[in-house]
Amino acid sequence: MGRGATREQMTVAILPWILPVGLLVAWQLLADRPPAGHSLIPAPSEIVTAGVRLIRSGELAHHAWVSLQRALLGLLIGGSLGLFLGLVNGYWPLAERVLDSSVQMIRNVPHLALIPLVILWFGLGEGSKILLVALGVLFPIYVNTLHGVRSIDPGLLEMGRLHGLGPGALFRQVIFPGALPSILVGLRFALGVMWLSLIVAETIATDSGIGYLAMNAREFMQTDVVILSVLIYALLGKGADTAARLVERHFIAWDPRYLRSPEPTARS
């Protein structure tokens, strides 16, 4: 938090790190014992070395970038579709009658179970991976958007109409901002599903991406690279979640829960 932190604040800040750091140290000490060569449990230092090696060669950046692109593209496609369906079905009862049952049926099929089908139809290219991610993120966004639109106070809609707001203005000024908190909750759920879908899709058939990096390393018994890949996923996931939180803070600044401190400081 800052230079003026007291001892007590320092202690509080350190507390959550004691366990993970302690584990790392213990791991390093224990892993140093076995004979040279590839071990099944590489020491943290070996993972760092592997990381440095892959960063130097540019492989890590390449694979991470490919994975990130797939994730974001899938999120964009599936998210837009979920958002659109959620808004339409939330606002227009007829659309819900027509569409909701079908959407719910598809939602209840675990989308990863469709992998064989997706591969048959779309091959091993980019399309199938992006499709899986899109399919995964669609539903959390859909369900939460629908809920958000539904939970808007009808009194506000009535008041808006009374003040001469047309359908467009009503959507922009009342419906969308009213549903936004719920939509953002959906987005955070979707981010979790996004990485999950991508990891699975990338381990099955691909020649690039973090998932490929891990699978390829497994074939050569490079346990350090496998663990490194897992760490990269964790970092990417954490980064996405932090970004979503910042977005939330920015767009829901009016929420009484955030109003306590006038200038909210973003925490990660």
């Binding site: 106070d153 009194g155 506000l156 009535e158 008041m159 808006g160 009374l162 003040h163 001469g164 707001l165 203005a169 000024q173 009342v174 901002p177 009213g178 936004l180 829901i252 600044a253 009016w254 929420d255 009484p256 109003l259």
Partner: protein
């Protein structure tokens, strides 16, 4: 600020039924331009339904609601309503709530600021509604209704959820603004004192019908402790079929207040 002429309101045998249940039955009501009419009655008597019909939020099953703003003048767009809940958009700042539905330019922004200052909230325009107290929210709602020169102001128990002190303050504010602007006003309330303090005419509604009408010809500002004021309160309560003059007005209104706030 030029005083805009109020809208003439005329209800011709207005009835409303929901399913087979009759909510309003042949209501005949007229408000002259600039008149302040209070509608009182027990909860469930159709007060709010009546106001919603006038606002155009619901349509009558039979009969007609006529608004007349004078020759060649549109009336519908100059009807404003204040509800019991403030109904502010929590995601828009106070100033944007006041200017809701108005074009976003400097002239209208200034009008919104002016309205905000008039209700005593000058300098609060950048606040979020979430930080305002109940009374302040209701002031913002009132300011929103004042922007764009309303010709007919519909008040649906706007002070019902406020504490006694804030309510008195708001009543005074309402009366002063109404005297300045002279828009036609229909005030629905369960508080007989409030009706007698503010209205030119009190309409008693019972079971969806106009039971009786009473002209309040007391000079303004009205002294709530004067015997004539108390007599009017007792008269209205008597006509509503509540307790007679033997009970003090505060006590007599108490049960009605609890009932409506639960609604």
């Amino acid at each position: 600020m030029s005083a805009s002429p109020g809208i003439r309101l005329h209800l011709e045998g207005v009835s409303r039924r929901i399913a087979e249940r009759s909510i309003l039955e042949g209501v005949q009501l007229e408000a002259r331009p600039g008149e302040l009419v209070a509608v009182v009655g027990k909860s469930g008597c159709g007060k709010t339904s009546l106001l919603r019909l006038i606002a155009g939020l619901d349509t009558p099953t039979s009969g007609a609601v006529r608004l007349d703003a004078g020759p060649g003048q549109a009336a519908r767009g100059r009807v404003r309503m204040v509800f019991q809940e403030a109904r502010l958009l929590p995601w828009r700042r106070v100033i944007d709530n006041v200017g809701l539905g108005q074009p976003r330019d400097e002239t209208h922004r200034r009008a919104a600021l002016e309205a905000l200052a008039r209700v005593g909230l000058g300098g609060r325009e950048r606040d979020w509604p979430g930080v305002l107290s109940g009374g302040e929210k209701q002031r913002v709602a009132l300011a929103r209704a004042l922007v764009g020169s309303p010709g007919l102001l519909l008040l649906d128990e706007p002070l019902g959820a406020l504490d006694a002190f804030t309510r008195l303050e708001m009543q005074r504010l309402l009366e002063n603004i109404w005297i300045e602007r002279r828009f036609t006003t229909v005030l629905v309330t369960h508080d007989v004192q409030e009706a007698v303090a503010l209205a030119d005419r009190v309409v008693c509604l019972a079971a969806g019908r106009v039971a009786s009408t009473l002209e309040i010809d007391l000079p303004r500002p009205r002294d709530r402790l004067s015997p004539s004021f108390t007599a009017f309160v007792a008269e209205v309560l008597g006509r509503l079929g509540g307790q007679g003059p033997a009970v003090s007005p505060e006590l007599a209104t108490a049960p009605a207040r609890t009932l409506t706030s639960v609604r």
